[in-house]
Amino acid sequence: MNELVFFINKGIFAGAIIGSIYALGAIGVTLIFGILRFAHFAHGDMMTLGAFVAYAMAAALAAAGVTAPLPLAMMMLPVVMLVTAGMAIGIDRAFYRPLRNAGARGIVLVMASIGVTLMLQGVIRLFAGPSSREMYFNERKDIFRIEVPGANQMITLTEPQIALFIVTAIAVVALHYFLSRSRLGKAMRAVSDNPSLAQVTGISIETVVRTTWIIGGGLAALAGTMLALDVSLKPDLSFNILLPIFAATIVGGIGQPYGAIAGGFVVGYAETLAVFNWSVLLRPIARMTDGAFEVPPSLAFVPTEYKLMVPFVLLIIILIYRPTGIFKGRVL
């Protein structure tokens, strides 16, 4: 049973946690890709930016002596999301909209987004330094343990992990209702499908673009803050998290928010299970069969340092065999 508990902790839960983060990031990327039609390379640093906004607010509140039942950074999430969304709109106004209006090709916008990502990196490191930080100030990170009969290890989940699951579920359901029921959500889908046709029917492209940045920026802030709460706040996440998010977007199908969610979990689980040491699970089977076969001490598909290969290989396989992604997105 111990092995099973280990698998649940290090395989199933770990995959769900990182999968939720990727899913939240990929929703933003896929919406931006679908509506603005470019790969947004600054999304990873936008997540870090959101996390830093949360950090700054929590630090200020903690210094003012405010206490709360939940960690301060988590309590401030709605504000953080709004602030980051506002920053995303500001970045769009300053750097992307002029290019769009000048009729630049999509690839020029990609390059501009790389410029933006470098600027964000520079600013974040200037104010926060290169070291990683703890998001908890006066609070304790609560850990919940569930006993399993017949095992001396316990299933463990920490407070931010549970919060992450809840928040992801809320975000996904809210997004679903927004996109399928609200007028603006429908307008967004229309623009994503056919911008010229949508414009002719009287949909304001400007409003749709702004909404895209609000959703994308808000969810990026959410994912960044939750990731920082779960592990720690690192300023140099950018490309390491960007590649899995792009992989999730393309696996799910570009312009497909539901696909992005599925893609996020696919990539998250693929990554976690690829570096998981499978000999842990094989050992009890070997014991039951009286050592009929030798179990090597470590049997992971990919060594941990090559974790980044997993999303990349997934991406390549999808591009070769099914460039539209599993949810039949667009091939741009």
């Binding site: 790969a39 410029g115 600027m119 520079g122 590649l243 393309i250 598909f301 340092e305 990349f312 065999y321």
Partner: protein, 425 residues
Amino acid sequence: MASFTAGDNRRDLLLFAALGVLLLAVFMSQGTAYALRVTVEALCYALIAFGLSLQWGTAGLFNVGIMGFIAAGAFASMFISYPVNGAFWASDGPSLIGDIAVKIVIGAGLVFAVSRSGKLGLPKGLVTFLTLVTLAIAYLVVSQSLDPAARYIESEAGFVGGLGLPVYIGWGFAGVVAGAIAWVVGKICLGLRSDYLAIATLGIAQIIKTFLKNADWLTRGTQTVSPLPWPLPTASEIGFTAARSGYLVMTAVMLVIVYLLLQRAYGAPWGRMMRAIRDNEDAAAAMGKDVNRRRLQIFVFGCVLMGIGGAALIHFNTIFDPNGFLDLNHTFLIWVMVILGGPGNNRGAIFGALLVYIIWTMSEPVTLYIFDHIRTIGQSFGWQPPADLDSRALSMRVFVIGLTITLVLRFAPKGLMPERLSRKG
């Protein structure tokens, strides 16, 4: 030939004259040895910038994995030219590696055969599935035998070592390796929109770097390999300045040769066809041009230049350090060089490379100087500066690179030396 009008030439001449003055100022203020180093490195960067100018300027291909191709070229050159490691060849290492190589060949053959089994009438989904399963099994077998072999080599011989061949063969091989990687990446991504190429090149660059950093048996990883052989008479033979000057002349000659070849290609029907594909893919395809094949060709050419440039760069510093390859210095800096100089204009690439690299190296002391003053002023107001202010200050250079990219794209999309198109009649 690409036609340069008299007005264009005068403008270029003025810009290059200004650059010459800047270079002279560096020589006067920083001393000959340091200035020679900056100039040689800038010329190596110019070679790499040619590669990017070819890809982006002539064909509109978006490569953000330049660092990976530089690192691959650098490694290839190190492997060819570093002295032979006798301990490795005396051990069982070569036979272990041969064993793995045979397994890789068999595995690749099997995967290829299965992927072609559609010809036997199997349904497409099944073929895909079987291919992936074969690939996974082949991968597992190879990776399981790679691990003990790597550990054996590390404990017996340190690392594989080099082949001890002349440096120029190493540089040629650098181009071959970078080109081969580019061929695989391009084959997969070039049929799709350029965004995919950007994502894939970004990924491959990170993976190449991770591999070189962790494969201690092949590259000594973070322990670095040095000293790399110097292709010309060394400093101990003819003196420090003379050795560096020799290297400078050699890179300059290489640069001029590549420049002349590129100018010819640009003016030839081949160059016209490439610009046609870049500017209107559908029209070019309708005229019977094989768009994807041409793009693959130019992508590989560009990456070959990047590989050679990377090799030239590390041989000058005589150290191969996988951790020294950075996205910022080896990808985005080159992007700034090309878009600032003028994409599609080879003179622009040289100009951009020299200008940006000089500014880049000089910006380090300047930034530290400015922040030193900020610290003094702040402290007089009772501000407690963080201990790592210097490393934070240097991150401002990242910000400036990003800002330059966005500003150039918005206000000078054609760069300082715009591409010149010949207009007849």
